[in-house]
Symmetry: C3
Subunit: 360 residues, 3 copies
């Protein structure tokens, strides 16, 4: 039927979406999963999570094979099985149907199954492999520092309307901070030339920033009131981890590892694990830092939603990059290779190493 | 364009929808139709109902042939014609345009028509054949007992998000009552083995339940405080009538005949005609029974909506049945045959007769 | 997937939409455009309007070429450039990117452009050509009387859910006024035979009404309390101007020129420029006339929305016309020719001249 039509300009139909279903993603924080069924969605697949009688996390397709009612509307029975609300069919964590109420002559119990997805509980997170066949390209990402002495760790969750790629690029992009978050993080007035060294390995890419002064914005002044040398890295790990590391002087270390889950093509859920060691005590810094971080996140979320709406309306992306879009293209190359099964073999040296000058 | 994609599992694209447009459906209760135009929808077709000057029910396509404004926005004029709100074109109950205001030289009055659908007023209901050509496979379903001495009759209307087949199966399904309506109707603790005898004729199917004790739930206790033998039948009649009959002892007889109207593929409107004769006076039972019945209905409506949303999201049904899904497959076979025009010839004996044991 | 399906009647898939992108349309009233970016939409194309440092109106595609965020979320910088909110890229009124913050080694500045659309400020309106290549079939429509001595002029804007053709036909249609606006404008009781003379030129069509008495409704009585001869013309000019002219006696002259902008196929924005000279002072008439005009407009907008919803639901139009649908078919012929590039050559005489009798 006739719909509003965009004539000029043509914009192809490329969208930076790779659907990597042989990699692990975070489904929820471990502390949030009880025996109450929890609906989640990964790569567009509706799943239901629950803990069985032994406390093990299970992930099933959120659709009863009997009459296709969502299993997440049901409950976990006394025997640790997930019971459908409609007719009471019960399923164990492996997806086997163990009970059909009112049925006397059960001729074919083995045929009754619901698809089950592998789960892993690790670093305070529940990871799920959105692949009922169990094919995995790697282990779940091991989070550093969560148990390190002297470090505090907090986990925060947020969702954005945007592709996984757009969310990762935004999280690891330096130039936008002076504009979108002007004053909060960096400011647009102070100007210093710094170097970024980009190194890409077979499954990750990193930008190391050299010569960066302490950012002049509010957040940076809070973390390090006395200034000092700044060491800063932005990193991406396949399939969906964005990591930002700051060292400011000897005493301040700040590591934000965000495991991103592609809920669907244009929805990304972010599990940010923030581990830090600061000169100032955490309990003094957090109450100030958290509202600021949420304000920064809100600005990013609004931009990503507007970007996504525009891309969907035009039927595709039409991006134009410069050399200071430092990581975006590398991340897309890794995602694309992973989708096509053409990742390079691991090596000791980076496969790409490059320098970029930028003014911040 | 890119949309959230479900990869595993594949679920074909079968949905249990048969579009039988040579059968009669209930459009509304007769008491609700006045000379005020009423929009209704059957098999996805927008119609407008009204009573003409003689009080006869008329059903026209709800689209003025002039400029395609819905006729239901208009009014019935003094001469019993339906008048469009935009330019005042008037139509009689047969769809003929009888007046075009401001037009002087009318060259082609017979060309101006709106599609009209046959109507029938019967048993307190307005029936419509959603077929402008008038082809009918049968007469409207004749409701039993509405005039029988000693019986009270009430009509109730509700709508559900679900295919006609899902709504009928739900209405005639016994096993779910112990779970979804646990405590209200049947309970999940008491267990008795009973027999169901299934009989299918060319245009209907019935399950007779033998050995069923009085259900232990609240509703059953209300109807028959003293217990007694229970006779119970569930029936489906083409194209869309679900009937539940209970006899408890000599004095209690309860017949719920629900004429279902496929509003669209995933929307079903239910006209339940409840005729009953009880030992306890109707005026004492009804105030208690009605809220309970509405609570049961609300639970069913929620499940059907969740089922429908899941089926639409997955792009089709993936149902797995056991032998205690007693009527669903038979109903679908009848609907499918009716759609394909391959119904069997009427016979004295059922074409299928089968026994099933179940535990309730 | 299965969706509600309309079986009878088939209605083709014609919709009266012509997408004329070599003609000028009004984007906004000139007084409403400041240096604050304003999102508008013409023929489905999202644009952003702003005034540069010299006060000139500029229209760019509302999508930053960098990461596809809407430019209308940004601001106009001190140097009169439009600055994207995300990374601060700046664009001049011609669409050239003049600044990329943080970029040091700019290798390809000329490649960074956003599509720009020609603009024209004229008669208190901002006109835009929705064609980045600048191809124009004609000049923007020159509004008469806006500067004429003795005339007052007001501009009003409203939006309707309807195709441009449906909105124009509605604005220039006489017969519906007695029904839809019964009592306000014309009434359905008084009956007079009048003549309409239709004249079509290569790029416009006009209906002149002869013998029309002063309409009996409230609006007409306000304008001309003493009655008098009525001269009345309805006119359409390609691509989208509807004009209604009334002369009542010597002293009253009323000209409503409505420039319609096809926002998208089913959304039309109307810029009504009302110039008038009345015996009664304007400041006395306007406070009474304006609420009445808005009430008439609201009735039209409701009908157009209902018509549009019906057409979209049926998947196309199925219109039936009589000879008193005086201008609709002519307007469609002109729009269609303009779309196909087959407009006739200009001539002194109308290419069509015809008389129609109607009863108002």
């Amino acid at each position: 039927m006739l719909e509003p039509r965009l004539k000029p300009p043509a914009s192809g139909d490329h969208v930076s979406v790779a659907r990597l279903n042989t990699w692990w993603y975070v489904a929820c924080a471990a502390r949030d999963l009880s025996d109450k069924p929890m609906p989640v969605r990964i790569l567009g697949i509706p799943m239901v999570l629950f803990r069985d009688s032994a406390g093990r996390a299970a992930a099933l397709l959120d659709r009863c094979p009997h009459r296709n009612v969502p299993l997440s509307l049901g409950r976990v029975s006394n025997d640790g099985r997930l019971e459908c609300v409609y007719h009471g069919w019960r399923f164990d964590g492996a997806g086997r149907c163990t009970h059909v109420p009112a049925l006397c002559n059960d001729r074919n119990p083995d045929a009754r199954r619901v698809e089950a997805f592998p789960t892993r509980e690790q670093d305070g997170l529940i990871w799920v492999l959105p692949n009922a066949a169990g094919e995995a390209s790697a282990e779940p990402f091991a989070l550093p520092l969560t148990q390190a002495p002297g470090y505090a760790t907090v986990i925060r969750e947020v969702s954005v309307e945007g592709t996984l790629h757009a969310a990762v690029e935004n999280a690891l992009d330096v130039p936008h901070t002076a504009f979108l978050h002007g004053g909060l993080f960096r400011t647009s007035t102070a100007r210093n030339r710094i170097q970024a060294v980009v190194r890409r390995w077979h499954d990750r890419v990193e930008a190391q920033y050299i010569g960066e002064p302490r950012p002049s914005g509010l957040v940076a002044r809070l973390i390090s009131p006395s200034g000092g040398e700044v060491l800063h890295w932005d990193r991406f790990f396949l399939p969906s981890v964005a990591q930002v590391e700051y060292r400011i002087g000897e005493e301040n270390h700040f590591l934000v590892t965000t495991a991103m889950t592609p809920v669907s093509d244009f929805q990304t859920r972010m599990f940010a694990v923030i581990s830090f060691k600061l000169r100032v005590p955490a309990r003094l810094v957090l109450p100030v830092l958290e509202p600021l971080a949420m304000r920064i996140f809100k600005q990013d979320a609004e931009i990503l939603a507007a970007q996504t709406a525009t891309i969907r309306e035009f039927g595709g992306e039409a991006f134009l990059s410069t050399e200071i879009d430092i990581l975006g293209a590398h991340i897309w190359r890794l995602l694309k290779r992973a989708e096509q099964g053409t990742l390079e073999a691991p090596r000791d040296q980076p496969e790409v190493e490059r320098e970029v000058t930028l003014e911040v």
